[in-house]
Structures are given as structure tokens and as C-alpha cells.
Amino acid sequence: MPPDAYTDPIQIAEVVVATITFLIVMSYIFKDNSAYKMLSHILLGAAAALSIYLIWTQALKPNWWDPVSKAIKTLFGDARPTWELLWILCLVPGLMWYTLYSKKLSWMSRIVFGLFIGLGAGLAFKNYFLLIMPQVKDSFRPLVVVGDGGFDIKGTIKNLLFTGTLVTVLIYFIFTFRMEAPLVHRGRTFGRWTIMICFGTLFGYTVMTRMSYFLERLNYVKEELFTKVLGL
């Protein structure tokens, strides 16, 4: 057995369960089966329970419940009430979300909806300028690049390709005007080809990611189950 072999029954059980789960999930690509369906239901139930747990432990409890309950306790003791008691007011807009389920009171939910839309819009506006404007600025590139060592052919080709792709893809997405000039038509075709190449790249990376998932799990089975549990 290797020096780092597992001896703890819990560790061994963890590896065995992970391996069986992996095999059940992979069995789906050959044929749908009851073991896979059962596992899907278990995972869905676990994920739903975990979401509730996480919302309580990571958001509601530390940010709202703890300060409010601490402040309420001060009301019944000798200590002076703290400003954290004001957090209780958050309950009002929070509960207003749930008025959505009442026809009579649903107008109240629109107030908090509006608040959140405003918040999101403000953030998106700032985000747009900080994220997109540098891209727009970068799009204006010299078509002939002259560096310190004179004419830069590599830089020139790169910028020509970049600008050509940018312009032709923009032409491809113009639907408002009917443009039948041969140059525009060829530009549109070139734009379509560049988009197709981009989709091909995207698909290639997708395959790479999916294979990474698969190979990492195979590696886990090899290193954890075969080496550390079975000692092979």
C-alpha cells in the first residue's frame, strides 16, 4: 500500500460513493436508467435544501437576524439600545415582495421592484462606461502600424484583420436598410464567415471544458480509488 493510502473508513466510503455517483452519471450517455433518475432526484433535493441553508447562514442570519436579535436583547437588559435595532425596519420592504401573491396588495410589491430596478440600472450604467467604453476606444486602431523599428507588418495585418472583422460584422447585423451594393454584400458574407469561425472556437473550448470534467473525474478514480483505497 502507498504511504498516503486511506485507512479511515469515512474517507474510503467518500471515495467509493464519489466513484459510484460518477459511474451512474456517466451511464446516462449510454441509456437513461432508473439509477440515474434516482440520483438526479437526490441531487435536486440536496441542492434545494442547501440553497435554503446558504441563504439563511450566509445572508439573512449574519446581516439581519444577528444584529436585530442582539439589539432586541438590549431592550430587556440594562444596556442602552443600539442603532442596530433599526435593521428591523428592513422587514417592511422585505415583506412587501410577498404581496405579489395578493391581487389586492400586489401594488406594494411594485414599489420594491422599482427600487431594485433603479439600483440595477444605476449600477449597469456605471458598469457600461467602465467596461464598454475602453473597448470602443480600443476599436479605433491605425491601419498602418509604424513602430520604433519602422513599418510593423505583423501589427498592420492584425489591425487590418481586426478592423475588417469589426466593420463587416456590424454590416451583417444591419437590418434597417436594404443594401445591395456588391461591396456591402461581400462584406456581409465575410462578416458571416468570421462569426462562424467564432462559433467554431466557442465549440472547441466547450469540448475542452467537457473533456476536462470527464478526465478530472477519471483521474480521481485512478488516484483515489485505485491507488489510495485499493493500493493498486
Binding site: N127, L131, P134, T206, M208, S212, L215, E216
Partner: protein, 299 residues
């Protein structure tokens, strides 16, 4: 029986055309067998390093002594197949170069700190580094959504707050120590003391680019899943991203730059990756042969 050359040609086309109809179970079975076989062959180390990984390496290397690197570790079991190797190699690099760093887990998954902690503790032991002085792990802070449900402030607000005052976002670290008591955190207050931000997750939020690079000018680099590369490539081109570690391949490239004594996790996975990629290319070629054969044989 008609045995004219034309009929023979058509029937050959018919046989080849069946390649298009290859049962997917055969494809998956061959892929499975090739993947298992690929783990038995000797490792084939990578020979080329892409500019994206080299750029991240260079950005980490150039960290001055009076600054730190903010490493956001927001990956969990769902994306560990690529993110774990990326995170490990970055931590290894910083420990080797004696670069101080702070690990956060902003917004994406509350499961992230535990997975990161295992690697941090293992490598800290290997390089004899001290928690609180050489590195700090601050833990998870909610932002955006939890479990797919919007339950907290938008991520951009949290990142902005982190940039202004880390202590206000993180009063305590992952071990429940008060953050102001940690020696490293006594000199790290906000983004001014940060040389570089690296976000390791499935799909890093663009808010890091807007609110850190855009607003404060601090370089940002991503270590993400391969599938996300086309989305972030534009930010590399425009200089908004300082670099990118692309999936397992990027991590393997980084490992080769770091010249590890033993092949790293990503390098070990690249040989099987190469095998299955070649096999997929072969299947695509066979599918195309079948397609053209069917077209040629069609009346």
C-alpha cells in the same frame, strides 16, 4: 445484378455514408477506452506557452515588496476540474517568490473557502509560510446571488466596497480571527496596497474589470474555465485584462513556466486531454467523410 462502375461507386459511397449514422454509444465507448488508455501512457510535457498565461506569470513576478496580490478563489466542486490546478499553481508561485497575498471568495459560492483552505494549508506547510504574515484567507462574502437566488447586494457593490476598505467587508477571517489583528492586514487597507487582482472561478464577473481595473486602474487577471475564453478574449485584446489562465491548458502552461520538480496536476491531465481531442478530431473527420460520401451517392 447491375455491376456497372457507376453502381459500384454509388454503393461504396453508401457504405461510407453510414459513418454519419455511427451509434453514439460506439463513439462514447471508444472515447472512454481511449481516456483510460491515455492515463497509462507516459506523460507528454507541453512545449509551448501562450501569451495569456505568460502575461499572468509576468504580472505576478513584477509584484513589488510593499504590495500584495488579491486572489479571489470562487470555485467549488462544480468547476474544480480546471480551477483547482489554476489556484494551486498561482499559490505555489506566490509562495516561491515570497509574495504576500490575500485570498477572498466574493459572491459566487460559499463552498469555495473550504476547498481553497486545503490547498493553502498544504502548500504553506511545504514552503514553510506563516498564516497572517505571509498570506491571509478572508473567506466568503455574499454578493449577487446565492444558490441561484438573488439574496444580497449586487456583486459590483461588494467589489467596490472591497476596493475602498477591505476591513469593512471582512471584519473577521475564515478562522474567525479579527482581521485588524493579522499582521499582513495591518498594512492592507484597500486597493491601494494591491498590485494585482486574480479571480479564479468558472466565469469571473466582468464587474472585477469595471470596478477594479476601470475605476482604480489596478490590473485584473482571470483564471477561468476554457469555455469562457471567447467572452473574455476581447478584454485581453483591449488591455482591460492583464492576462488569463485558460482552463487546464493554461494551468499546465503556468506549471511549465514555474518549472515544478514533479509534473503538476494540470500537466498530468494534458496527456489524456490531447488523446481525447485527437480522437474527437478523428470522429469529426469521419463524420465529414460520411457526409460527402452521402452527397456523392445521392441520386
Amino acid at each position: 445484378m447491375d455491376s456497372s462502375p457507376d453502381t459500384t461507386k454509388r454503393s461504396e459511397g453508401g457504405r461510407l455514408a453510414r459513418l454519419q449514422l455511427l451509434d453514439r454509444r460506439i463513439i462514447f465507448g471508444v472515447l472512454f477506452a481511449a481516456a483510460i488508455f491515455s492515463f497509462m501512457v507516459p506523460l507528454m510535457p507541453g512545449r509551448s506557452v501562450g501569451p495569456e498565461a505568460r502575461a499572468v506569470f509576468g504580472a505576478v513576478e513584477s509584484c513589488p515588496e510593499d504590495k500584495i496580490i488579491l486572489l479571489d478563489s470562487s470555485w467549488d466542486q462544480g468547476s474544480q476540474s480546471e480551477n483547482r490546478a489554476q489556484f494551486r499553481v498561482l499559490v505555489e508561485h506566490m509562495f516561491r517568490r515570497n509574495i504576500k497575498f490575500v485570498v477572498t471568495s466574493v459572491g459566487v459560492t460559499p463552498l469555495a473557502p473550504e476547498l481553497a483552505r486545503d490547498i493553502l494549508e498544504e502548500l504553506a506547510k511545504k514552503y514553510d509560510k506563516e498564516y497572517g504574515t505571509d498570506y491571509v484567507q478572508l473567506g466568503f462574502v455574499p454578493g449577487g446571488s446565492i444558490g441561484g437566488i438573488v439574496a444580497t447586494s449586487p456583486l459590483g457593490f461588494v467589489i467596490s466596497a472591497l476596493a475602498r476598505d477591505i476591513h469593512s467587508v471582512y471584519p473577521r477571517d475564515v478562522y474567525d480571527n479579527p482581521v485588524p489583528d493579522l499582521p499582513l492586514m495591518q498594512r492592507v487597507k484597500g486597493i491601494e496596497q494591491v498590485h494585482l487582482v486574480i479571480c479564479v472561478t468558472y466565469a469571473p464577473s466582468e464587474d472585477w474589470i469595471s470596478f477594479i481595473r476601470g475605476q482604480y486602474g489596478t490590473p485584473v487577471a482571470f483564471a477561468n474555465m476554457s469555455i469562457m475564453v471567447p467572452y473574455y478574449a476581447t478584454y485581453i485584446e483591449s488591455g482591460q485584462l492583464a492576462g488569463m489562465i485558460v482552463g487546464t491548458r493554461g494551468a499546465a502552461e503556468y506549471e511549465s513556466l514555474l518549472e515544478l520538480e514533479k509534473p503538476g496536476e494540470a500537466t498530468r491531465l494534458m496527456t489524456p486531454q490531447a488523446f481525447v481531442h485527437i480522437l474527437i478530431i478523428v470522429f469529426i473527420a469521419l463524420g465529414n467523410v460520411g457526409y460527402f460520401a452521402a452527397r456523392r451517392g445521392a441520386p
